[in-house]
């Protein structure tokens, strides 16, 4: 039976929510980064970010959970910029999340490849 539009919407919203956090942590994990640049990098992945504003509450939550820390740096283009970087705890959690993601993606892919519509 085909999924209707609402079901697809709900499913993609739920999926995106968890994956978005993983995407953000991976971006911050590469290097210390300005908050706005996190949004710019995610902007290129259409399926991941529908509303750019959703990223800032996630960043705030990650900070509150002790996975990232912030520091302010003066900017020549305006007010001081807030930079994000992973904490030790954030690095450990990201490693675990990436391992889980790879296992999940492999598993789903193995199921999907035999699917004949």
């Amino acid at each position: 039976m085909a999924m209707d539009a609402d079901t697809i919407d709900n499913w993609t919203t739920q999926l995106r929510k968890g994956v978005l956090e993983l995407g953000i942590l991976n971006i911050i994990g590469r290097a210390r980064i300005y908050g706005y640049d996190v949004v710019k990098q995610l902007r290129d992945i259409d399926a991941l970010v529908v509303r750019e504003g959703t990223i800032y509450p996630i960043l705030s939550r990650l900070k509150r959970d002790g996975l990232v820390r912030t520091s302010l740096e003066e900017s020549t283009e305006g007010p001081a910029r807030k930079y994000y970087e992973l904490t030790r705890r954030g690095e450990e959690q990201l490693t675990e999340m990436n391992i889980y993601w790879r296992a999940l993606a492999r598993g789903i892919e193995s199921l999907r490849k035999d699917y004949r519509p």
Partner: protein, 278 residues
């Protein structure tokens, strides 16, 4: 700091108000921090295109999306979830009716409700603000619901504005009257003619306060718009200059009255006696 055209600035203030309202009380995020991040985002997006026009700002805000959709409904504070459920959809009048009912409860059912009456009346204010806030989030015009929501806001705002504007007059007038009642000859010599000095002192204080408020107004414009929302959105810097100008006139009047009191004390005392206030 990015410069905006006046209409864009108003639109931005409204949006940031929505950000705060949507995240306030959410235990998993720091609303102020997110607001600062969003400001930084807007600055970064629009830097170099100043003054930023309304349409340019709207494009950026459209990509950011409605703040009410940034977090899960279940993460939102209890009071907000209750309000949203009370006003479940567009054109929903329930919250507006409830606001009006609470507003009427105080004076109408006060004798029957006891202390609940004033509490209902006080509660009508946050309910009115929440109604407006939810309608603004949904970009829904208030329409005829203003007749249910505005009465409580007008009453609260008018009281607050009046207190804010005139408090120095009774404060200084009362203070001078108390000094007068000490019947100390040295104080009486300074205050003479006493009733006139009390009036003049109160007028002078009022004028000085308006001057100060007028000068400060451009700096506290945003706060003023938030406190007296939605009625203060048309208040601009120039209104501060008008208030300061009025303050100068009133203060000058007070000073002139003091001068007249010192120049012609006998005549002033006589006028006071005729009026029965000396």
């Amino acid at each position: 700091m990015t410069a905006f055209t006046p209409d864009a600035q108003l639109y931005l203030d409204r949006y940031l108000r929505q950000v705060k309202a949507a995240l306030r009380g959410n235990p998993s995020v720091d609303a102020q921090e997110v607001e600062r991040d969003v400001r930084g985002h807007i600055d970064a997006e629009l830097h170099g295109a100043e003054p930023v026009t309304l349409s340019a700002l709207q494009q950026v805000l459209a990509r950011l999306g409605s703040p009410s959709q940034w977090t899960d409904f279940d993460e939102q504070p209890l009071w907000r979830r209750v309000m949203v459920r009370l006003q479940s959809g567009p054109e929903d009048w329930r919250l507006a009716y409830l606001t009006f009912a609470l507003f009427l409860c105080g004076p109408g059912l006060g004798p029957f409700l006891g202390p609940l009456g004033p509490m209902c009346f006080i509660a009508s204010f946050p309910f009115a603000r929440a109604t407006l806030s939810l309608m603004e989030e949904r970009e829904e015009p208030i329409g005829a619901r203003k007749w249910l929501v505005y009465p409580t806001l007008i009453l609260w705002y008018a009281t607050l504005a009046l207190l804010l504007l005139i408090w120095p007059a009774p404060a200084v007038g009362g203070g001078l009257t108390q000094l007068r009642e000490l019947h100390d000859p040295r104080i009486d010599a300074v205050l003479a003619p006493a009733w006139f000095t009390v009036v003049a002192g109160a007028t002078l204080a009022l004028g000085a306060w308006w001057m100060l408020l007028g000068v400060l107004l451009p700096r506290v414009l945003r706060v003023l718009r938030v406190v007296f929302w939605p009625f203060a959105e048309s208040v601009e810097r120039r209104h501060g200059f008008v208030l300061a100008g009025l303050g100068v006139v009133v203060a000058a009047l007070g000073a002139a009255v003091i001068f007249a009191g010192k120049q012609w004390p006998a005549q002033i005392e006589e006028i006071g006696r005729i009026m029965g206030i000396a």
